[in-house]
Symmetry: D2
Subunit: 137 residues, 4 copies
């Protein structure tokens, strides 16, 4: 199936000491923090910007993550994280992410996350709109 | 398929401020940090103890995570994380985890992680032993 | 000046991979996360328990931290964090912390934190009570 | 005493969910992670670049942090962290940091950190060079 990359975003990170562990490579949690920043910018593109969400308390929450660790990144590596919206359903949507070394393009990570939109603090799930600007059917 | 819980471990965490976010609930990364502690103790039961790993630089690394966020935990909740070894292959093994509220047993999280054993810092994958004490075939 | 250790608390942590960095030792932020857990339990002893704070939104916030990194802890070390209330003023109070290797007693960290009590989300500072049970004048 | 800002660096951060806690504001640890990125770039300016450090295992480590939390930042805030080298001794040097809201200039944080240069993994302290390019006496 061809992937839909109508709405996408790219972020960059330079691997810092706090991203690494004693194994000499980036810790598995650090990639997910980097992905969250990409996902947050991606969500802003479909109407969920941070100040707006802080005000309304309606925002997308991760309900499932699948992540594959393919090659380890190291201190000082420049990581490019590209995220795009992959599927758009009634109650949830899926994002995909690829993390690569800038320059060589070596693939560190592939990841897929399902998100639901909830009204906090109740946690009530909100129905997704059918049409999102920029997302072709 | 019946799950194999021959080798399992349980850890407990009390939800702290640093585990939460402005949404009023535990942040999705915090559960994975709690799971890592459980997984580390579980790995020690099959021979991968922390001081030993620090010396040999041979240790299990996560190669895939699948995690489902079922219900959010909140500040002060007591979380019980139970982990067990689910499948044991030649090059990788799978662990499963359940995170529940202590007392009520409410299910917050289910998670599955595949691990490979590597020699660091080269990252060379090490063949798994066929027989692990305590793991019945 | 003799220190007041009327109200104190001790927590324990085993150093995990996520606590370390590529330098081979515990990362400077990880100690502060461990200290926060000790401080939170200490605060509960003077009436600021987590469920209560989540309900009232009145809680102590750190307004200043001073921390000295004296010796690095490593993967698998067992760290004992002892915290106590050191000074009690009108608008703020000070806690002190010592982090040592269990067994040998080697001193990793000394730390001092000033806390104010605030009403969130406004951030309004609340006057401290003069008498706290267990804290002798 | 006039401060020396011969060598300085500025980084920017947008406050993400993982930076916040249930109190509705940025968690005290998150500022220190942002400061570390600024400090790392600042260190690169005096010869401690990340790939070089990963190779030689000689790098600056924080030996003391003093941080004042003056006003809380919130989700979506843009934070400018400015760091500069303040004092240069034989065995340690001090950096200073200010974190402000972009645009308004509101002051969130002031911080001071002492660093020593060590050879890892032994942790042996290395004498500082007397002359650092760009740092006027």
């Amino acid at each position: 199936m061809p992937e839909r990359r109508d709405i996408e975003w790219t972020t960059e990170d330079e691997v810092m000491f706090y991203d690494t562990d004693v194994g000499g490579v980036v810790h598995n949690l650090a990639y997910l923090r980097m992905i969250e920043r990409c996902r947050t910018k991606l969500a802003a593109r479909i109407g969920f910007d941070l100040p707006g969400m802080a005000a309304t308390q309606v925002y997308p929450v991760v309900v499932r993550t699948e992540i594959d660790y393919r090659m380890p990144a190291r201190l000082g590596d420049l990581i490019t994280t590209r995220g795009w919206i992959d599927e758009w359903g009634r109650a949830r949507f899926w994002c995909r992410f690829e993390m690569r070394r800038e320059g060589t393009g070596d693939l560190f990570i592939t990841c897929r996350q399902a998100l639901a939109v909830v009204q906090m603090p109740e946690g009530k799930i909100v129905r997704l709109p059918r049409d999102v600007e920029g997302l072709t059917p």
